[in-house]
Amino acid sequence: MTFRIAAIVLILALALGLYVSKTEADRARARVQAAEREAAALRGEVATLAAEAAHLGSPERIEQLAEDGLGLEPMTPERLADREEGRP
């Protein structure tokens, strides 16, 4: 009789343990999925920002800004000198 009661208690305990761990696994899976979704969204955002940065750093735009804002112009050969030859 005692043995039977012990066995029933053990089975119930194991069943409860299995239930708890399954529930926990479900929650973890949901968290992973949420994190994956967030990662995908962030990757999209990173790509968007990278595209925007590339657009802003486009040579055409930089050249326009340098010309309009700083009065610079494309370099000409006359403005270059070799370090050795340039030294007085």
């Binding site: 239930y19 479900d26 790509a47 050249e63 006359e78 270059l80 000198a81 070799d82 007085p88």
Partner: protein
């Protein structure tokens, strides 16, 4: 069967029969209990199944988004050229749209370019539960429309290919369709590589350099405007590896909103159109003649008067009053000398030399729109003579640039490529000409830049070797003297040849600003000079170094 609710029995009058009646009642109760037990057992089993069974697999949107990943395209320095961004498709359920006219009006205000009448018609189509109105919306556009609060209007997640530099290198990059499949340019030509790199999450590096690309496009645009040309094109090659550092065709287009494939701006003049190149092919005639030992040292030609070849009168644009040697012949771009060398070689041998230079094959460049060169097999004296100075053979500018790599590799040729060269990649050098002949012709082209037709291409201290070309385009009933392809092909620095540039203006006009001439030397050579001055520092060549006057002026550090 007695009725359970018999009023007489419940009244207690028939107590005698109660014991007899109890047996069927107990049976009924047992049956009910059994039924309930089965039901509870079913519920319990279902509860256990839900608690312990495997959860239903839901597809994660992250993996759905990643389906056919397309790698980003970057230039040789890692600058982003093409990227796949999250986008949204604007959709609507016509059953939930109250006022199609009003919704269409609001949408077309938010999205310029949306056809208002067509949108209204589609929104009013009650036979459908879902209509797609516009693909490839940015996040910002989605938020903007979302803020309008239009009932029935929805958004579906999607992706789109974006080219952050707009028109830069449009023909080379090409574009994709809405399913993100490559349609033109390397997007199509390198499709397999792009998908492979995308699967491993890496960007695909192209050989282009955005700085040089921009300089090329800017200078071509200036040259095109100056000569009032119909179009312009150019290629800058690393002559040792074959990498295309810049390649441009004007007019161009914005790959973010590509025009129809047959629009005039879609013509990729650098890779997708064959031209008769004219005198830029003379170096190959000269090299073949030298290699075959058909020129005696010190030999001269008289170019003062036109020379008759069959029905053709071969004349020089700038005849010399005195006999000229081979070097002077190339520097002055003498048709008479080139025609005579062609006669000595014979048409088959000359054609074979062009073939070795890669001019008679489709270029292996990774853009799909490659026409085959046109080179009819004619061997009569007239055809042979004109073949000597680059007529009767039409090829692409990229093939010409590839041919000029023989000057950078001791007579061997490398194939132009848009793929970035990685350390350890093997470079295939195809021997084409004798190294001595290649060096000799390079020196003659250097002379063309210092004293000949390519004088305007001379860039201080950069030692350019160049050959100009002015070819009349075939028109109705022969060549049309008013429609020309004026070009220049250059190798630099001449003492250590490493780079090849080919530039051309399509149908330039002789204007006041071009000195009244529309030749390669007048319209293409100045573009080359300005381009080289700009890109030399990017190539870590110091154009100022060899020029004495700059050394004196450069005293300040």
């Amino acid at each position: 069967m007695t009725a359970l609710f018999d009023p007489i029995r419940w009244g207690g009058a028939a107590r005698r029969s109660a014991v007899v009646e109890a047996a069927p009642a107990r049976r009924r109760i047992r049956a009910m209990a059994a039924l309930l037990m089965v039901a509870f057992a079913a519920l319990g089993l279902r509860a256990i199944a839900l608690a312990f069974g495997a959860p239903p697999q839901e597809s994660s949107p992250a993996t759905a988004m990643a389906a056919p990943a397309r790698a980003d395209l970057v230039d040789r320095n890692g600058v982003l050229l093409a990227v796949t961004l999250p986008a949204y498709t604007l959709a609507a359920n016509p059953h939930e749209v109250w006022d199609p006219a009003d919704v269409a009006a609001q949408l077309s205000r938010a999205l310029p370019g949306l056809d208002r009448a067509a949108t209204e018609r589609r929104l009013a189509d009650r036979s459908r539960r879902l209509v797609y109105l516009r693909r490839g919306l940015t996040e910002r556009q989605r938020d903007q429309i979302f803020a309008l609060g239009l009932p029935g209007v929805t958004f579906e997640p999607d992706r789109r290919r974006v080219y952050p530099h707009g028109r830069l290198a449009a023909h080379a990059l090409g574009h994709t369709d809405f399913q993100l499949a490559g349609v033109a340019g390397v997007e199509r030509g390198l499709e397999a590589d792009i998908l492979r790199a995308g699967a491993s999450g890496r960007p695909l590096a192209l050989s282009l350099d955005v700085r040089i690309q921009h300089a090329l496009e800017a200078e071509l645009a200036v040259g095109m405007e100056r000569a009032e040309a119909q179009g312009a094109a150019g290629v800058v090659l690393d002559g040792r590896t074959g990498e295309v550092l810049a390649i441009a065709s004007l007019p161009d287009f914005d790959p973010n909103a590509p025009p129809a494939l047959d629009a005039p701006s879609r013509a990729a003049r650098a890779t997708g159109v064959v031209f008769e190149m004219g005198s830029t092919l003379k170096p190959f005639t000269t090299m073949a003649a030298l290699q075959a030992g058909l020129v005696r040292p010190g030999e001269t030609w008289v170019t003062r008067d036109p020379v008759r070849v069959g029905s053709l009168s071969v004349r020089d644009v700038s005849p010399s009053p005195t006999p000229i040697g081979l070097e002077e012949g190339l520097a002055r771009s003498s048709n008479i000398v080139a025609a005579d060398l062609a006669r000595r070689l014979s048409a088959p041998r000359l054609r074979e030399a062009y073939a070795r230079a890669g001019l008679l094959d489709r270029s292996p460049i990774e853009t799909p729109e490659q026409p085959a060169p046109i080179a009819p097999r004619r061997e009569d004296p007239v055809s042979t003579a004109v073949l000597g100075y680059g007529h009767g053979i039409a090829t692409t500018m990229i093939a010409l640039a590839g041919a000029y790599t023989v000057f950078c590799n001791e007579g061997a040729r490398v194939a132009p490529t848009l793929r970035a060269h990685a350390d350890g990649d093997e470079i295939v050098r195809t021997p084409a000409f004798d190294p001595h002949a290649a060096r000799a012709v390079l020196a003659m082209m250097r002379r063309a830049a210092t004293n000949g037709t390519a004088r305007l291409a001379e860039t201080p201290g950069l030692a350019v070797a160049a050959k100009t070309g002015t070819a009349e385009k075939p028109g109705r009933g022969g060549y049309d003297p008013d429609r020309r392809l004026s070009s220049i092909a250059a190798v630099f620095p001449a003492h250590d040849p490493a780079y090849v540039v080919v530039l051309a203006l399509d149908e330039p006009r002789a204007t006041e600003r071009t000195g009244g001439r529309a030749t390669g030397g007048a319209v293409a050579a100045p573009v080359l000079a300005k381009l080289l001055a700009r890109i030399a520092p990017m190539l870590e060549l110091s154009p100022g170094a060899a020029a004495p006057h700059t050394a004196a002026a450069g005293g300040a550090p």
